[in-house]
């Protein structure tokens, strides 16, 4: 086995570009492993763990580019290095071919667009706080995608932002729609009269897609980052967001999305909405709805209900009929579940949920807890159900593959499906698996061909089960709109053709799964 690499000093590329290049290299025939990373301490640890930290890499800095390949012989590793250089030149040319001069700083960028009003930041966490503060000092709103920014720094940025009437969305804010512009991982939803404030990225995406697919629209969708509603931050931007939407003439309905806020933050949020004249819909995933109810908001039990209630209110209609509509759908889902369950073999009784969206994973956990009982997870809602080994499912299990422990050295599972595809196949080999539940999140930033990516793994999983005389239900929800660059309709068709059952929302997909598992856990009898 040969391991060979080169170091290029002073060449900087963003992490996603590098991970996608590395991914292409590992797909080359005869290549065992490959890495293209900046020479940071974390990256060097990853290289060391996979036996690719060469001696010449030990003394490198954040601005050194490291390319390394592992293959049967040196000729192949040379090929890897050459290919990496080609792909990196290509990515640079793509940037330059846009015909735009790229400034080296925010100051330089402002010279190009003096009326800029938003800075999107996705550099490494240890630099991101400084870049964000520089943007705020220049009077610009901030969308801070980066994570690994300390909570002290977050507080400092948000307090400063509040003082200057500037938005600080993040850190770790994956999505927002401001003035119709999709920021980071956002879906294409027309403009309308529903405003959203969310401390939950995929929660915001799921609700905005439900709203869009129902034919309604979004005025603003403000993300805050999940930590905003924790005690240390005190909901600074969540509350500023509510105030901004209250004052916004284009917003007629306000939707609040979050995991359960800290109790004192919840009280602050309740106080902020108490005197608002506009209707407020609140979904606090796993939180006590009573405080929101008391403050005059309509508390919804899941993201789908929240979206549908908001749409009804935005049209001046009563949301009272929604419960009956969803009850009728539940009957249909129960029938579908009975049919699926009847084809399964003895012993098939468990759910395996493989998610890319954290909030969707939580929503499924909650629905299971209410209907059947807690499920195992690396981040369980019931601490007794913590999965010992995150790589191995146990009984009913759901994992969010977007969690840090799964994304070290690889792109987020909304971009790179490799890990999920492997796990789908693994779960299919387990004779106790009844349902594999997946979320497919579309929109800007996400993988452009999720249907084509997942289809071979879905087919393989189905085949593995069939050879063993089993029938596995592969249930997918799609978070996306018909106007997203991937096109929801196309993705839906590809997933169905591969043998998946495609449900309209994560709530519907989870419900179908719950109903199948209910039947299977009673030995297949209903």
């Amino acid at each position: 086995m040969a391991v060979k690499g080169i170091k290029k000093t002073g060449e900087y590329f963003d992490s996603v570009t590098l991970m996608l290049v590395a991914r292409s290299l590992t797909e080359m025939e005869g290549v065992d492993d490959a890495a293209v990373v900046m020479g940071t301490e974390e990256n060097k640890q990853i290289l060391a763990a996979s036996g690719m930290l060469l001696d010449e890499f030990k003394d490198t800095s954040d601005t050194d580019l490291l390319i390394v390949g592992k293959a049967a012989d040196e000729a192949k590793t040379d090929e890897v290095i050459l290919k990496a250089e080609e792909l990196l030149i290509e990515s640079k040319q793509k940037k330059v071919s846009a015909g735009e001069h790229q400034p080296k700083s925010i100051e330089g960028a402002i010279e190009q667009i003096p009326d800029a009003n938003m800075v999107i930041i996705s550099v490494a966490g240890r630099y991101a706080g400084d870049v964000a503060m520089e943007a705020l000092e220049k009077g610009l709103h901030v969308m801070l995608f980066s994570d690994n920014v300390s909570i002290e720094r977050e507080k400092e940025l948000k307090e400063y932002g509040r003082e200057k009437d500037l938005l600080v969305m993040g850190p770790d804010c994956g999505t927002a729609i401001i003035n119709g512009a999709p920021l980071c991982f956002a879906n294409v939803v027309k403009r309308g009269n529903i405003g959203i404030v969310a401390a939950s990225g995929t929660g915001l995406q799921e609700i905005s897609c439900i709203i869009g697919n129902e034919g309604a629209g979004i005025s603003q969708a403000i993300g805050t980052g999940g930590r905003d509603v924790k005690e240390e931050i005190g909901g600074i931007m969540f509350i500023e967001g509510i105030k901004a939407l209250e004052a916004d003439a284009a917003t007629e309905v306000i939707v609040l999305v979050s995991k359960p806020p800290a109790p004192e933050v919840l009280e602050k949020v309740a106080a902020a909405i108490k005197d608002i004249k506009k209707p407020v819909v609140a979904i606090l995933i796993g939180g006590d709805p009573e405080v929101m109810d008391r403050a005059g908001a309509r508390a919804a039990g899941d993201l789908e209900r929240a979206g549908l209630i908001a749409v009804a209110l935005s049209r001046g209609e009563s949301p009272e009929g929604i419960a009956a509509k969803l009850d009728a759908r539940r009957k249909e889902i129960e029938k579908q579940a009975a049919e699926e369950a009847s084809q399964m073999k003895e012993g098939q009784k468990y759910l395996r949920g493989l998610f890319s969206g954290g909030t969707l994973c939580d929503e499924t956990q909650l629905m299971f807890k209410e209907e059947i009982g807690a499920v195992y997870s690396p981040a369980p809602i019931d601490p007794d159900f913590k999965l010992d080994d995150i790589w191995k499912s146990k009984e009913n299990t759901v994992v969010d593959l977007g969690e840090d422990e799964f994304t070290v050295g690889r792109p987020h599972p909304m971009i790179d499906f490799l890990l999920r595809k492997k796990r789908i196949v693994e779960e299919a080999k387990d004779p106790e698996t009844a349902v594999i539940l997946l979320d497919v999140v579309l929109g800007y930033g996400s993988n452009m061909e999720p249907g084509q990516e997942l289809a071979p793994a879905i087919k393989e999983a189905k085949e593995i089960a069939e050879k063993d005389g089993r029938h596995i239900a592969i249930v997918c929800s799609i978070t996306g709109t018909y106007k997203d660059p991937q096109n929801r309709k196309k993705v839906e068709k590809e997933l169905k053709a591969a043998g998946a059952i495609v449900m309209v929302t994560n709530a519907a997909a989870s419900l179908l799964t719950v109903e199948i598992i209910k039947i299977r856990s009673q030995g297949g009898k209903k």
Partner: protein, 56 residues
């Protein structure tokens, strides 16, 4: 409230980091300038701390 003035304007962005975020805005026909960013002081934390201390 100045924050709400943002909602009256056309969104014009500066992107520091992942190029795909600029490409999304280009695709949706919003103005966005990409900053050719690299870690300050070559990523050397000691130099960076010294520059910060000097207010640079």
């Amino acid at each position: 409230m100045i924050l709400n003035e943002l909602f009256e304007q056309e969104l014009k962005a500066i992107n520091v980091g992942l190029v795909s975020f600029k490409e999304a805005l280009d695709d949706a026909e919003f103005k966005c300038v990409q900053v050719d960013w690299s870690p300050p002081a070559g990523g050397d934390e000691d130099v960076l701390a010294a520059l910060k201390a000097l207010g640079i």
